[in-house]
Symmetry: C2
Subunit: 526 residues, 2 copies
């Protein structure tokens, strides 16, 4: 490892001006890891932001092919990280090696997918309305439009995906693809991992001759505010708690020049079980659903937090089976002691509530998260009780028994915005559930039929977003290629000489992309 | 006119529960017009919002062809408005009849353009990633995405476009196209106009069997806050002052569940003059530019508020010519006494500032706006003085003489976000001005070469948006077909049976639209 290990990254330069020293912890033992990390000072944050602003006009104007080269090179660099890197991630997060390797592959593939988006060129949304010099009563001049990067973006790393939602994760990939330099705030839970990934990004930047400042990274718990408030920064990507996300949204809105924030925050991901499915395959559903609840120690934004069905003997049998399944799952270590404490607190609040009973709580060691199955009164949802509206991040879920179909619909209506909603049912009953499914589509960014919400595919069609509080803006997604839209703005070029237009809008269509020309999609030159 | 004239519209029902009575004024004489308008009560606002929420699931699920029918019918109804309507608008706004007729045509054409967007189908942004059941290590399930309406939208009417940015204006048209019912807040400056247009919309809604509540309209100066804070409302469109727009953004962000606001607010629309153009055609530019400044009594969001060039004999000659041109223009009445007062106050502040001198101020009657040409020190821009950063809404502009090219660039750098920026130059000097043009592209939503910013074409390529404070979110536009994006959100359908998918995503591609299937654009069935 580098001599400067633990220093902040101001572009490719390393800096440790401050006195506050932070330690990364072994997630399983709680012991300090080496090296120490230096919390960025205000002046280091300022330097990183200023540098990103200097890089922006050059980086934003680079041909998309060059940015694609950069992203592909980052992917290659990530793929070259070795076993010692995997061990480091394991130490910092307590995630198992198979998961870490899988997540690393997902992260490099995500970079490559955004490179493909750049080459495909539809992200430009190129539009051309040609001049109509003879139009009456007034002529129309030539007007063209394509999308440009917003400007430098602040990205916050998430604790639960040290790779795929962190230093080189989806927010960074989509911002870099959009032409926006990134200043990254490393999560305190995996600073060593973040440093190694940042080094990989910077090797790729050097190898592909990207402008200095295209990527910076700072450490420290107090630096987020300075980043969000910095005038050079033009957008924010965040994945984390409702509390943290809301604070960032408020800060961004209170700037003299407010900037957009995409914050992915809190979701309880309801799973609705229909009766025919329960009677036909209740045991299988119980087994699969419990797997989904405890997968990755429940540390997924799409973890199923509420399971809901209509009262029936079949539902009772299912709940009993689910209870047994949950009891059979081994408890495991969480990402860090903070996450564990927060989970324990959430579970204690549920346990203490008179409307909630514990169905299953497997005992384990103090350092592990207990897998919990709760049953809650439908009234808790109907009355809008905060208890069931906010995510308890960890391997727990709450079963709700509605007295009839109408009460089930009322429960769903009372729910806040979600990342996902799931319906499990047989063909016939699904076709009769259009009201239910429509309602879920209003509530969530993604609705799954006969699946489980954990496991978010990185592809063109994915939406990892949804109405508040799932995210701060349901018009965006932080997973999938549409994530690039958050960091682009349309720009209109009126009456430009051809040679001053960006390639996407030139008459000869040198990029050979689809464009909307006088209202018709075409890849022809004009 | 209807017996209920002056009543609020709760869907198609008329309601006048309140005691507060408002008068529309004759813009030229200041005298009250009949009838009286009833300020909506809290319960009327609530009823309108609740009704829009009831209408939403039905309206949002209607085939796009049906919504297109509705928009086209609104256009037809607008086109049928007769001379008495034009006279009413003229009385309320002091705009001349030719302008009113032109704006009416623009408004109905805008509706028809959004109907075309619905039929073209690219607004769905349909994406399909087919299942890969044999993928290793885990299979991929079928994942599809298209865009849905956000929910009911609050739209605020603008004073300066009683038709094109009001009741049936661009925000309403794009929201209705997106599948979002609209609750419209009529501007107090033209309530009679608003009522007639609302009646036209509701006739169209009835004739095309739209759900009750697809459109409502309320009167009253205090009702905006109640609309923005109403839990049923999911987005806001606003055109008006920086002060008003910022207040709405803050209210929307402070809701328990924040909603997006697109507020188009303040822009000074810099015009940069290059030396060769000035020496070659300075007189023509002076004549055209002064026409643009006083067009519509300067009451355009894109009115050129700052004219900037580098010191030279040619620039001095140009400024003298512009002064003479401005003096020659007749003063005219503004939209209402509030607009006039606000304009006079803005001009007085400029006059009082030691860094500003008056070049031209044609005297006229007290009820008319004086056409003003000012000259301001470059230092005012360089130091970030608020004076030149905020729009003075009316027929005034400020000339700035930069001492050299670098100072000109520094002046532009110091400017806030703009709707438009303009460069006037000859071919050669334009090609040498890439740094300047890039900088303007960063600052504005639209850059014009050799044109004038007033006159915003309604087309696919238009951007009437830009960085703060031009708008609250530079990723949107309120003019042109891209305006629909503000009111759409992506939704992901995972593992759906074909019959439960929206038409845009069905295997057979019944809408015959372009879709991104496994990363390739195609209109084939799958």
């Amino acid at each position: 490892m580098s001599n400067y290990s633990g220093y902040n990254f101001i572009g490719s330069a390393r800096s440790a001006e401050g006195d506050v020293v932070l330690k990364s912890k072994n997630a399983t033992t709680g012991l300090d890891l080496t090296p120490s990390f230096y919390q960025a000072t205000q002046s280091e944050v300022d330097a990183a932001c200023q540098l990103s602003a200097l890089a922006f006009p050059f980086y934003n104007k680079l041909p998309a092919t060059r940015r694609a080269e950069f992203l592909n090179k980052i992917a290659d660099e990530l793929d070259m990280l070795k076993e010692d890197f995997v061990s480091l991630v394991e130490q910092e997060t307590a995630l198992d090696k198979a998961r870490i390797k899988g997540e690393c592959g997902r992260t490099s593939n995500q970079m490559r997918l955004f490179a493909e988006v750049l080459l495909r060129g539809d992200y430009y949304d190129a539009r051309i309305d040609r001049a109509k010099p003879n139009r009456q009563p007034i002529p129309r001049t030539d007007i063209r439009q394509c999308r440009l990067g917003l400007g430098p973006v602040v990205v916050f790393g998430a604790s639960n995906f040290p790779l795929a939602f962190s230093t080189a994760g989806g927010d960074t990939a989509s911002a870099l693809a959009a032409g926006c330099p990134v200043v990254f705030k490393a999560h305190s839970g995996h600073m060593g991992t973040a440093e190694q990934v940042a080094l990989a990004i910077l090797r790729a930047a050097k190898e592909t001759s990207m402008p200095e400042g295209v990527f910076s990274m700072v450490f420290g718990s107090g630096v987020g505010e300075a980043l969000v408030k910095h005038p050079a920064m033009k957008a924010v990507g965040f994945t984390g708690s409702l509390h943290g996300g809301k604070a960032i949204c408020d800060m961004a809105a209170a700037r003299p020049h407010p900037i957009p924030v995409f914050a992915e925050m809190s979701s309880i991901n309801p799973v609705v079980l229909l009766p025919q499915a329960l009677s036909k395959r209740g045991d299988t559903i119980a087994s699969q659903l419990s797997d989904s609840v405890v997968l990755g120690v429940g540390q997924f934004c799409t973890n199923p937090g509420v399971v809901i069905g209509v009262r029936s003997p079949g539902f009772t049998t299912f709940v009993n089976k689910l209870t047994a399944e949950m009891l059979s799952k081994p408890n495991k270590s969480m990402l860090n002691s903070g996450t564990l404490k927060s989970y324990q607190k959430g579970c204690e609040t549920l346990i203490a509530h008179p409307g909630v009973k514990v169905l299953s709580a497997a005992q384990g060691s103090d350092n592990e998260a207990t897998n919990y199955l709760f049953q809650g009164d439908a009234e808790l949802l109907l009355s809008g009780d905060k208890l069931l509206q906010e995510e308890v991040f960890g391997p727990a879920t709450v079963v709700i028994e509605a007295k009839d179909q109408q009460e089930l619909l009322d429960c769903i209506s009372a729910m806040h915005g979600q990342l996902t909603a799931t319906v499990i049912g047989e063909s016939d009953e699904l076709l009769e559930s259009t009201v239910l499914i429509s309602l879920l589509e209003e509530k969530a960014g993604r609705v799954l039929i006969n699946g489980y919400p954990t496991g978010v595919e990185v592809c063109d069609s994915m939406v990892h977003g949804g109405p508040f509080p799932a995210t701060s803006d349901s018009r965006g997604t932080s997973v999938g290629t549409l994530a690039i839209d958050r960091f682009l703005r349309p720009h209109c070029f009126q009456n430009y000489p051809d040679s001053l237009l960006p390639d996407a809008l030139r008459n000869s269509n040198p990029l050979n992309i689809m464009r909307l020309v006088d209202g018709v999609k075409t890849d022809s030159a004009i």
